[in-house]
């Protein structure tokens, strides 16, 4: 059975635990949702005397920050066994009691073909916590846009504290202490080390022996310094002994996502004359940027997401095929070969209510994808109806500009 089939089977089993409400209840519930939504939009429309339009130029990229360029598969030494992984994880932890240690080596387990990993329970004397480690390779060169090298966007992943450290050799460690969920109160601390050779070692630890109750201690057992020591340890060198495949001569690399500063620099040149901009606090998430705009007395937030062109032609063709089949907006084409999807979301499509978000998504001829979106308010969730600072045509002008192509 292939990896796909096995995992699909696991998901099917888990999905069997889903609730099964009577069919009629679902349809009735959907109608109630629809009516509530319309009422809410009507209230919003009534209160729209003051328009604080926020235009957001946004290109959706990984929430945890970074591009997902992955090194080609096949770079794992075959001699890495489950025992090596479990023993090595044990060896990089401070003195304490270790139990239930296990791991997966190269080619192990019911889901073969994945990088090595390890797991155990670690008790420093104040209660056991689950500690799990996974490995990964990222494509070279490692940049600020590489996945795992930035703190997660706190909007997507609420955190009690995140520390990002660039080590003397150029490696990057990110330690993130996530906000526990309200119900189980399980605290998850995670550390990811990205080496300049493309290695990635990641540990998750929790204050429980699973991701559920009961809690075994107030916080996970390893401190930040202990986490950093464990993920950066040279004991993991054998796992990454094979040279990173992405560095082979002639290997193709996906283009890295541009930094927010680059995006803003390009976007600013494409704005209508007379537009005033305020970029606010420094932005860190590669591939996306936002800027508050004021034009003709209207202030809006503009978000721009930039997805670099895929590295191979087949991927570009696949993107284009999926794009052309999208029915969620109005699709047009530019003379230079870009496909343009215009979406207005909010109330207009459901009859009567106001539009709350305007977006233009463009697939350029080379596969570069740009999404510009705009709404009135500081965040999408608080969007207000009303005329935004930029028209859809102006959004289109920004998104279709050849300046985005490398």
């Amino acid at each position: 059975m292939s990896l796909d089939e096995k995992f699909a089977d696991l998901l099917r089993d888990a999905a069997d635990l889903a609730p099964a409400p009577p069919a009629a209840d679902l349809a009735d519930g959907a109608r109630r949702h629809h009516r509530r939504r319309r009422r809410r939009q009507a209230v919003l429309a009534g209160g729209a005397a003051v328009v604080a339009a926020v235009v957001v130029l946004a290109v959706r990229l990984p929430g945890a920050g970074g591009t997902d360029a992955v090194a080609p598969a096949g770079g794992w030494p075959e001699q890495i066994t489950a025992q090596f992984m479990a023993d090595t994880l044990t060896s990089v932890l401070p003195p304490g009691q270790v139990s239930a240690a296990g791991g997966y080596g190269v080619g192990d387990g019911p889901v073969p073909g994945l990088p090595p990993s390890a797991h155990l329970l670690y008790d420093d004397g104040n209660g056991a916590g689950m500690v799990t480690l996974s490995t990964h390779r990222v494509a070279l060169p490692v940049t600020d846009g590489t996945w795992g090298t930035q703190c997660a966007d706190p909007v997507e992943t609420p955190s009690e504290g995140c520390e990002r450290t660039v080590l003397p050799g150029g490696g990057i460690v990110v330690v993130d202490k996530l906000v526990p969920d309200a119900q189980a109160q399980v605290r998850k601390w995670q550390a990811t080390y990205t080496g300049t050779d493309g290695r990635q070692v990641s540990i998750w630890e929790v204050n429980s022996t699973s991701f559920g109750p009961p809690l075994t201690r107030p916080t996970p057992p390893l401190t930040t310094a202990q986490l950093v020591a464990a993920v950066t340890s040279s004991a993991w060198d054998p796992v990454f002994a094979k040279p990173a495949p992405g560095t082979a001569p002639g290997a193709t690399q996906s283009t890295a996502a541009p930094a927010p500063g680059q995006i803003l620099a390009t976007a600013t040149t494409l704005l209508p004359p007379g537009t005033r901009t305020d970029t606010g606090a420094e932005q860190h998430t590669p591939g996306q940027a936002h800027v508050e705009l004021t034009l003709d007395g209207r202030t809006s937030m503009l978000a721009v997401h930039v997805q670099p062109r895929p590295s191979d032609k087949a991927a570009v063709a696949g993107e284009r095929e999926a794009f052309e089949k999208d029915t969620s907006g109005t699709l047009t084409h530019t003379p230079d070969g870009s496909s343009v999807l215009v979406r207005e979301t909010g109330a207009t499509k459901t009859g009567g209510g106001p539009t709350l978000r305007w977006s233009v998504e463009v697939l350029h001829p080379d596969g570069t994808k740009i999404l510009t979106s705009e709404w009135n308010g500081t965040s999408e969730a608080e969007a207000q109806p009303g005329t935004p600072a930029l028209t859809v045509d102006q959004l289109k002008t920004i998104a279709t500009a050849p300046a985005w192509r490398p």
Partner: protein, 164 residues
């Protein structure tokens, strides 16, 4: 003739709930709520949706976007329910599957969506990439990383799950 919305909801609703259940990492209440919200969006433009080649596929795309939008709107308040539908009498230990759901719930929302679309909805890499506004290479990379993470988190339980 335009298919009736009620019939569509009856025919597809349970599958949508199961998808939402996986997306939420096993939160039964949130799964029902997201499904109803997604169906509510379809109901509002049903005449247009019903004329699409694949209304069911569109419904799942709306559900995934509803889920991701929910994640952006709210902080992490999801939880895995400890109550679930009646299990078959032959099921030896539903807690193993609960473990999988909890592990899914620990992944990032977009990673979960990638796995659910690829392995549960059986969508191609390109379709998944388009739905989630990711590149195809990002979908492949996220799949591998999320599966590795799940395996590390599940540990020996994964073998049991695969055998059950």
């Amino acid at each position: 003739m335009t298919p009736d919305f009620g019939e569509f909801a009856a025919a597809r609703g349970q599958h949508l709930i199961r998808t939402a259940f996986l997306l939420t990492g096993g939160d039964a209440h949130l799964a029902e709520d997201l499904t109803q919200e997604a169906l509510g969006k379809l109901y509002g433009k049903w005449r247009r949706v019903a004329r699409l080649d694949n209304p069911a596929g569109y419904a799942h795309t709306v559900l995934v976007n509803t889920f991701l939008s929910h994640r952006r709107r709210r902080s992490s308040t999801e939880h895995v329910t400890d109550t679930f539908a009646e299990s078959p009498a032959t099921d030896p230990d539903p807690s193993l599957r609960l473990t999988l759901l909890r592990a899914l719930g620990e992944l990032g929302a977009q990673d979960r969506a990638v796995l659910v679309l690829r392995f549960w909805e059986d969508r191609s890499v390109e379709e998944t990439a388009h739905t989630l506004h990711l590149s195809a290479s990002a979908v492949r990379s996220r799949s591998a990383r999320a599966l590795t993470r799940l395996r590390a988190v599940l540990g020996a339980d994964l073998d049991d799950l695969a055998r059950s």
